[in-house]
Every structure is written in C-alpha cells, then in structure tokens.
C-alpha cells in the first residue's frame, strides 16, 4: 500500500510539474514576491510595519485572494479532466489500491501547490537576509502554517468536488460556486444580515468563522493587530470565544480539519461509486 501511495504521489508531482497551470501558478507567486521587492514595499510603512513584515503582510493578503480559487480550479480540472479523458480508465486498471491512488494524488498535489508559495516566501527571507533586513521569524513561521492549512483546506474541498461531479464542466462550475459563496459570506452577505438585525452579532461572527477564507483573513490580521481593532465589535466576540492564542490555534486547526474532512468525504464517494 505504501509503495503504491508513494508511486502515485510521485507520478502526480511529475505530471503537475509538466503542466502549464503549475508554471503559471509558480510565476504568479514568485512574481508577487519579486514585484513587492521591486516596488520597495520593504521600505514603506503601514500600521507601524516596515521591512519584511510589511512585505509578508501584503503577500499573505494577496495569497489569500489567489490561492483558494487557483487550488480549487486546478484540482478539479486535472482530476475530473483526467477521469473524463480516459486517463483514469487506464491507470486505474493497474494494480493500485483505491486508497493509495486517492491519497497519493492528494499528497503529490499538496506538495506541488504548497511548495511554490512557501519557496517564494523563503526566497523573500533569503533576499531580506542578503539586504540586511531584520527577519520576523515568528510571523514567517505562522504565515507558513496558515498557507499550509489554506492549501490543505482547498485541496480537500477540490478533491471532494472532483469525486462528486461527473464531468469537468460540472466540477469546475461547482468549484467556482463554492469559492464565490465563501467570498460573498466573507463580508457582503453577513454585513447585510447584521445590518438588518435579524440575527445576533455573535451568531453572525460564528457563521463568519465557519468560512475558512474569513478565518485566514482574521488570523492574518491578528498577526499585526492582536486585539483585532480593525474588525470593530466583531473582535470582542472572537476574542471572548477563543482568546488571542486560542484563535491562532483555531485558525490553523479548523481549516486543516475542514480540508481533511472534505478529503475523507471525497474518498468515501470515490470508493463507493463508479471510478470513471
């Protein structure tokens, strides 16, 4: 089982490295770091942040905007697309257990989507050291963990959608709808609901924190605004429920659990139904 899992993961990594989407993905995240340096972001000051912290704060905001939709769309396109094109028909006729195939694909894909983002951040740190800029290691570590669980969360959701949808178009449409729903619930709809006063603010905040995008955004803010002042009254609810450190742990644990839970559910559907 481990051998087949390793072989499948390695195959998925090799296939992804050859794919056009990976090239674009790597260029986007590498390019963002380069552009942030080129435009002198390390020398600007926002909310007291300067240097590499400033760059990392901007980088993670941009990553949060791009990574989820990128991971969702590329995952469902390649998984559902391979199934539709007949790749699964052939490769699943080879003696590989379904568990090794499914989890091997997830491990391989995870490595491929996580690596460019973190390598770009690592590159920024190296560049910063070369330039003599102070490195905010705690922030770097936490942001790395946030990106790791963000990738895991949306990869899991992507695999679930790929397992359920019967065609590439349907999988792609569902992935886009999920992302759109999360985006809308990030602010617009919740704000509307709260303004109308139909639900308690505590409930609205709780719903918001079920949204992994909101969790990432709030966790990223909390790194440079531990009291979450910019969130206004919602901050009281969040800090009352979790506390400062508790929220940091929640922001890592919840999306990871959501991603793994989605992947497990996806595996359940994959194993139970037709493989093609």
């Amino acid at each position: 089982m481990m051998k087949q899992l390793f072989l499948t993961a390695r195959l998925d990594i090799a296939e992804s490295l050859r794919a056009r989407w990976f090239l674009i993905y790597t260029l986007v995240f590498g390019g963002i770091i380069v552009l942030l340096f080129v435009f002198g972001l390390t020398e600007s000051r926002v909310l007291g942040f300067i240097g590499l912290s400033r760059l990392l704060v901007t980088y993670i905001q941009l990553t949060m905007a791009i990574l989820p939709i990128f991971v969702l769309i590329t995952t469902v396109r390649s998984v559902a697309g391979d199934r539709e094109a007949g790749v699964f028909e052939y490769l699943l006729a080879l003696p590989v257990p379904l568990g090794a195939w499914f989890w091997g694909k997830i491990i391989g894909r995870y490595a491929v989507i996580f690596a460019p983002v973190v390598l770009a951040m690592g590159g920024a740190v190296l560049w910063g050291q070369f330039d003599g800029i102070e490195i905010p290691w705690a922030m770097f570590g936490y942001y790395t963990a946030l990106i790791a669980v963000m990738a895991l969360c949306f990869l899991g959701i992507g695999m679930l959608l790929s397992s359920v949808a019967r065609s590439t178009d349907m999988a792609q449409g569902a992935a886009f709808l999920v992302w759109l729903a999360l985006l809308l619930f990030l602010d617009l709809i919740l704000l509307g609901v709260m303004i109308q006063g139909r639900i308690d603010p505590e409930l609205a905040v709780a719903i918001a924190l079920l949204n992994p995008l909101q969790v990432f955004r709030t966790a990223a803010l909390a790194m440079f605004d531990p009291q979450l002042i910019v969130l206004g009254p919602a901050a009281y609810v969040i800090l009352d429920i979790f506390g400062e450190a508790g929220f940091r742990v929640f922001a890592i644990a919840y999306p990871a659990a959501l991603g793994i839970g989605s992947a497990l559910l996806g595996y359940h559907f994959f194993r139970r139904g037709d493989l093609l």
Partner: protein, 283 residues
C-alpha cells in the same frame, strides 16, 4: 477463472448491462463483439473493478473491486483509445513496471520486438506518440508482465503487418497460461485470434459459441506471388508486408502470420488482375 452471474449495470435509469452470465476459463480466447452501445466497454470496466454493478463478478474467486491490487496484478489491459498521458514514455514504463512487479526491461524488450525503440522516445510524452506507437507501447505494457488475463480493445487495429505478426506470436506465448478477452465491433477483425465468440446487443449476450477451425496464433504461412508486370502501388503494399522481390520485382516471397491471412488476402485482392501466380501455404 472469470465468473459473471447476472451482472447488471444501469446508468441514470438506462440498463447498459442486462443480466450477463458467463464463465471464462484458462486458455480461452474470446472475441467480445457487438455494435456501439452494446455494452462491451462497460463489461470490461466492470471486470476491471472500475464500475460498481449488481450481480456477481469473480476472478479466481476474488472480487475485482474489493481485491483490486491482487486481481489487477493478473490483468493486462489495452484500452480502446490510448489515454492522453502527458508523462514521458520512460516514466510510464517505470510506473507500470513498479506497480505490476515486473522489470521495465521486460516491457521494453516486447516494445522492441514490436518495432518500437524505447530509447529513442524515452523522454517523449506518451500523448505525443503516433497512434501506432501508442498501441505498441500499451501492448508491451500489457504483455510485459505475468498477466493471466488479457483484456484488449481492438489491440491490432493500428499496427503495421510486421508488428501484427509479432503481436500474434506474443499472444501465442500467452495462449496456454492466460485467458483473453478481445473486444471489437466486427468479428472479422478478431476472428483469427480467438476460439470463442461472445456477441452482445443492448447489454445482453445474444451469442456465445466456440469458433471452429481457429488457427494457431503463432503459425506462419509462406506466400509466393508472381506478377504479370511491375506495379509500384502493389510493390509498396508488399514492402509493407516485408516481402522480398527478385531483381525484376516480378516474383515476391514472404511470410504471413496465419491469424492475419484474411487481412493479407484482402490487400492482395485489390490487385488480383496483376497476378499470374499466387500460393499461400504452411511452412
């Protein structure tokens, strides 16, 4: 070896397999024939454990769905359409060999015998190969291991005559210790390869019969052709069959794989008016 009992498969209310019951034993070479939509591909996918279904399928007493790795380890599969794999040929061979517990060299040897030089295409993506090259590689991947069952969908359709001859020899090497299921739209395409015919229509088996006078897969027929006059188009055809000519290019000699004789006769028939002598017999 293979047992199907009342196998039924339904897609969104449409019954694609309708109570199929079959038994296939070692040494049987079965032509699975039928028109488009008859259920041939669905049946093969059920046998490969790729579709869930009602009824029972066992291969050596094992469920191909629950005991995937053990069952599929015994099956060599050549699909109807080559998969659009982007991975390089070398990686595909290594991947399949690792999963199937065989040596990559064994697969490469068979590919070489079929006329596919793996070293020249090792780094080329599989999807970029020509139709014939893909077919040869897929056959090599299916035969280059200890498969006791071969499921093949029109496996020789894209092969040149020489590769077909080698392919028949390779199948002959598996004939005694394997069962073969060869799917095709038309019986005449595969009749020479098989000793039993199963015809499907609308998801049911409508004919299950032994094939009389089936030929030995590995046997070869000697052929001599004398032409009234030289004809470049016919010479090109005979070159394709690897025939040798005398200096005047009027007398041609060559060997034809016995299972391919109908196809050969079909090719020669187009130039029947040119023939002054034609003989085809066992060596």
């Amino acid at each position: 070896m293979i047992r199907l009992e009342n196998v039924t498969k339904t897609f969104r209310g449409a019954r694609v397999l309708d109570g199929i019951s079959l038994e296939i034993g070692l040494g049987e070479r079965i032509a699975l024939i039928g028109s488009n939509g008859a259920g041939k591909t669905t049946l093969i996918r059920c046998l490969l454990g790729e579709y869930v279904h009602d009824g029972l399928i066992t291969i050596d007493g094992l469920d191909p769905r629950r005991e995937r790795a053990r069952v599929l380890g015994q099956i060599g599969f050549v699909p109807q359409l080559p998969p659009p794999l982007r991975m390089p040929v070398g990686r595909l061979i290594d991947f399949a060999a690792s999963l199937c517990g065989t040596a990559p060299g064994r697969i490469e040897d068979i590919a070489e015998r079929l006329g596919l030089h793996v070293d020249a295409i090792r780094s080329r993506p599989f999807v970029r190969l020509s139709g014939g090259m893909k077919q040869k590689l897929l056959i090599a991947l299916a035969l280059g291991r200890d498969a006791r069952l071969l499921f093949m969908d029109e496996p020789a359709a894209n092969l040149d005559p020489e590769a077909r001859k080698i392919f028949f020899e390779l199948l002959a090497g598996h004939a005694d210790h394997a069962a073969m299921l060869i799917s095709s739209h038309r019986l005449d395409e595969v009749a020479s390869l098989v000793n039993r015919v199963v015809e499907m229509d609308m998801g049911r088996v409508v004919l299950d019969d032994a094939l009389a006078g089936s030929v030995e897969l590995g046997s070869v027929l000697a052929c001599r052709i004398v032409l009234k006059h030289f004809e470049p188009a016919f010479a090109k055809t005979l070159d394709g069959w690897r025939f040798a000519a005398d200096a005047e290019r009027l007398v041609w000699r060559g060997a034809v794989a016995a299972p391919d004789r109908l196809r050969f006769l079909g090719a020669v028939a187009r130039y029947a008016g040119l023939l002054s002598h034609f003989s085809l017999g066992e060596h």
